[in-house]
Symmetry: C2
Subunit: 284 residues, 2 copies
């Protein structure tokens, strides 16, 4: 595995691979890798000749009071994990390399970022869309893989790729969970042991909603109310949102549709802001 | 020459050419081609194996009270001109093809569009940056050529390509003028015969400034004042801006710098909004 730190070298390698007719799959990450990331890398391995993983904690997707400075890092472990998964190139640039002086070009979507996480993180997806486009142009992938825990991000990237005509296939990797149900996240590291039980309120809420729908509930407003009460019954929790939305448009839904809906949650547990989601259908 | 009207077909052709190792040069236009456009196509011919020209009157770069509906068209003549210049592919999509339902991704620069034309056309360069990125991804060029009459556009495209790491070389084509000095523009068609003399106030202002600098003037504020009086002496003229700026940053300059400055003008003559510009140095 080669570690590449400059845009110029990474792009030169990628363009040379493309000229040789090799296919490239790409997994962008912010590092501190867990089994969720590794599941994406495994998909990448199956999909193309060459696998590129990037590790870059992107400052433009963090708000002013968010955890940019505290975001967990462990490059040595990340490098080992990537090596073990058979990654070919690890792209590991510093911030000045991606955002040099006078950088000023941003990509923004006008609709999808208005919902869910975008409401309380108004510049987050602008930062995501911008850095992902940059990374795509640097690594020239045929296929890119994103985790569905960040469901809104996944939908935004798909829409952006379509709108900008990027010749890249976007694949979503399923949410990977701890044995007790907690969705894997680098931010789980922030959880104190006393908070860990409360963190399960998210995945348990998904089950609760599924059960309510199975029992015949069709009023999603009531489902959201039940989940709200449930999560509030755990200590250390502070709800950001509990949303039932159209899985493509991310617009609010109050009555159970035939094709199902997405239940998406964001809850602060201690200082960890956690998210989780699930597609729920009547006959799921 | 092949005329292509769908994104899918154009991109398929471009990607197939790239796979074969052929180079592509690209000239994006809004049609109603004149000798300025043809000079860009001639550069394109010299620079790559395959030349793609696009004709697309991009609605997102027009403001609400601008001339989108009146923008001149002559596809039959454009097609002939392109054929005569040896263009290989003419990409001629309709608006729905480029902006389908639910389109929502835009590219915006935070600095360069604040100056010159961007002041009175606040969404213009967002539309330009967005459509050019889309056209780049569709036509996959190695080289793209833009006319320097739209100097601010040229600088914005270069900055955007750098910021987004697009592997494309941007070349600027010099301003092409009528025999009397009027910069070629599709919008010259709007000029009534009585207004034609007044349209020359722009190119004559460039000469006036050059003469003032040659004579030792170093106060660009005074140069702008002289030009203002000069243009106002012509009937039918309404000044949008007379600016002396840094050629890269487009920021205002009041004292003649060693490396010169850009004089940029926008003047309405009748219903034609005309622009012109020139780099001016002490020893030019």
């Amino acid at each position: 595995m080669k570690i590449i730190s400059t845009v110029k070298e990474m792009q030169k390698i990628s363009l040379a691979l493309k000229t040789k007719g090799e296919t490239i799959s790409f997994v962008p990450t912010m590092g501190f890798l867990h089994k969720g990331h590794l599941s994406l890398i495994k998909i990448a391995k199956q999909q193309a000749d060459t696998v590129i993983v990037s590790i870059f904690v992107n400052p433009t997707q963090f708000g002013p009071n968010e955890d940019l400075d505290k975001y967990p890092k462990d490059f040595k472990k990340d490098r080992e994990l990537c090596e073990n998964e058979g990654v070919d190139y690890l792209f590991y640039p510093d911030v000045k390399e991606i955002y040099p002086e006078n950088f000023q070009t941003y990509i923004e979507l006008s609709k999808l970022p208005k919902y869910l996480c975008g409401k309380n993180r108004p510049t987050h997806f602008k930062g995501v869309a911008t850095v992902v486009t940059k990374l795509f142009n640097i690594t020239q992938p045929d296929i890119a893989i994103f985790g569905k825990k960040d469901y809104q991000q996944f939908q935004i990237i798909k829409q952006m790729v379509k709108d900008l005509h990027l010749p890249i296939k976007i694949i979503g990797g399923e949410i990977i969970r701890e044995d007790d149900g907690l969705a894997m996240s680098s931010r789980n590291k922030y959880l104190k042991s006393a908070e860990r039980e409360s963190a399960l309120s998210l995945s348990k809420s998904l089950k609760l909603a599924e059960d309510l729908i199975k029992k015949g509930e069709t009023n999603l407003l009531l489902v959201r109310e039940e989940i709200k009460k449930f999560i509030e019954s755990f200590p250390y929790t502070e709800i950001d949102y509990i949303s039932t939305v159209d899985p493509q448009l991310l617009t609010n839904i109050d009555n159970l549709p035939k094709n199902g809906f997405l239940l998406a949650l964001a809850v602060k547990v201690g200082r960890a802001r956690l998210i989780d989601n699930q597609l729920i259908k009547k006959e799921s």
